[in-house]
């Protein structure tokens, strides 16, 4: 893909592309999601590199991270942490759960019970954890990268629509193309490469980038475009549910981040189009999710 890239972010993207082969677009989307301060949901079959991508993102951005494998018996306290009586101090001490990391990799989130899922997602939304009357703020920046298996197997609890809405983007990786697969088989890429790579940025740098993203210019015609998209999704009657105002805000944020990635100082309709599928598809509902988002793009004129 011949898209311009912000020079500041080139090393990060290059490193990521070393690890996940042949998935430039998905990598850009994932980075874009983080730049837009959004949580990311990766949905795909096992074995295409979901976990590797999330780990790579955390490590290369120089963030503290913790992976949590979600299972059906996982309890909210297993994620949030618990107050435990300490023998030495003779007092209850808060043992922070895995959520107190800058990046939480929630693997197979749909295997956990709804209760546990909602505990995680609530904490994501509020940016803090309250246990036994004490409030513990989550670190800054804070991301959840969740993965889930698309097939609703026995014993899984698919995320309800309202919870899906809390993820800014949902992407899927898909099978690698033949060339990438050949490189993969030849031993390139993957977790082994990742272990040898140094971080390309720091938490401070990331915060700085996020600030810049927020400051990107959005013109009235572009707002017209976003509004037209939202309106069409609500009125066309093709979609189970129209895009909510929150989805609209998310779309704009993601488009800003995409423009920033491309090294521009203003948002173009192309940016909106690039992120629309990732941002909107899981919110529009229906079966053929991706084609729904594409139909939306086809139907709405660019002002």
């Amino acid at each position: 893909m011949s898209v311009d890239t912000n020079p500041e972010l080139r090393p990060l993207l290059a490193a990521l592309e070393e690890v996940i082969l042949g998935k430039e677009r998905q990598i850009r989307l994932a980075v874009c999601c983080l730049l837009a301060r959004g949580h990311l949901l990766i949905e795909d079959i096992p074995g295409v590199g979901k976990t590797t991508l999330s780990q790579a993102l955390a490590q290369l951005l120089g963030l503290s991270h913790q992976r949590v494998q979600f299972t059906s018996d996982l309890l909210p306290a297993d994620i949030l942490g618990a107050a435990i009586y300490d023998e030495q101090e003779r007092a209850f001490r808060f043992h922070p759960g895995p959520i107190f990391h800058q990046v939480v990799l929630a693997d197979e989130i749909n295997r956990a019970s709804p209760k546990t899922q909602s505990a995680l997602l609530e904490a994501m939304e509020e940016g803090r954890v309250s246990i036994e009357g004490e409030t513990h703020p989550l670190p800054e920046p804070f991301f959840v990268i969740a993965t889930q298996n698309p097939f609703h197997q026995h014993g899984t609890f698919p995320l309800p629509e309202s919870q899906l809405d809390r993820f800014l983007m949902r992407i899927s990786l898909g099978y690698p193309d033949p060339r990438a697969e050949r490189r993969l088989l030849a031993g390139e890429g993957g977790g082994d490469v990742l272990r040898g790579l140094p971080p390309c940025a720091s938490g401070g740098k990331l915060s700085h980038w996020q600030e810049e993203v927020t400051a990107l210019h959005v013109s009235p015609p572009l707002l017209d475009y976003v509004q037209a998209l939202l309106r069409h999704s609500r009125e066309a009657g093709e979609y189970q549910s129209g895009l909510s105002p929150r989805a609209g805000l998310g779309l704009l944020r993601a488009a800003r981040a995409w423009a920033f990635l491309a090294g521009r100082d203003s948002v173009w309709p192309d940016d909106v189009r690039a992120v629309l599928e990732a941002v909107a598809a899981h919110r529009l509902g229906g079966v053929a999710l991706e084609s729904g988002a594409r139909r939306l793009l086809e139907a709405v004129a660019v002002p």
């Binding site: 018996d73 435990i84 043992h95 895995p98 009125e235 549910s241």
Partner: protein
Amino acid sequence: MNAVRVRPTRRLAGFLMLLSVLWLVSANYRNNLGYLLTYLLAGIGAASWFQTRRQLAGLRCRFGKPAPVFAGETAALPLWIEAAGGGRPQLRLEVPGGAAENLFLEGAWRVTLSFPAGERGRRRVGPLRICSTFPLGLFRAEGEVEGGWLLWVYPRPAAQAPPPKGAREGDGGEREFEGFRSYRPGDSPRQIHWKGLAKGQGLVTKVFSEQGGESGAVFDWEMLPPAAAERRLGWLARWLLDAERQRRAYGLRLPGVSLPVGGGAGHLEACLKALAEFPGGERD
């Protein structure tokens, strides 16, 4: 909304008749004011064509999700309707086979259209027909909005059903202890080996083998007493509702469909939808 058609009404015939009478009288008496009156009315009639057409322009209509209903009940279709550029003094909303609503639309409204739900099944609501004869009733503008939502019509629960005898008990799940491992942040407090902690052995976590499943009744199509399919579905619906009301866990097994034991509104919905979709019902 799809293309708006404007058709003449029966009133137009009366109006044209009046125009020709006016014209003939004016011609007979060579009355110029009579001519002017005739032509003014003709102009007003023509202008009303555009006005009637405009009634349907700039309308925004969005369907809400119709709540699922039981067969034979009245379904309610909620919809948002909003008029750009001033109010619409007369709009008529019709769902085929349903009651029509006449409204004086001003800004945005939420309207609920009721119509008989019909047979069990899953079908698309609509099309919704919007029409208006405003301002003079000489013309009638019509447009249709295709339905966006599926309406679920569950089988009508039988008033009296045999006791759920054919129900099979689900497997009761047991969790087996596997061993210990050292505590990791995030481990459940329930799994912490508190006795060991008390003995000063530090934080140790107990590990169990996973074995899911809850106990409850599974209503099985095959186990039902012989009866017509619709009757059997009615029994099943009644059992499901009763079980949910009594907060008992239940599952459902139909030919080709199997829903594990569970409970709650979502589970009930899934079960009833399975019944609604049972072959033989209406489909979109």
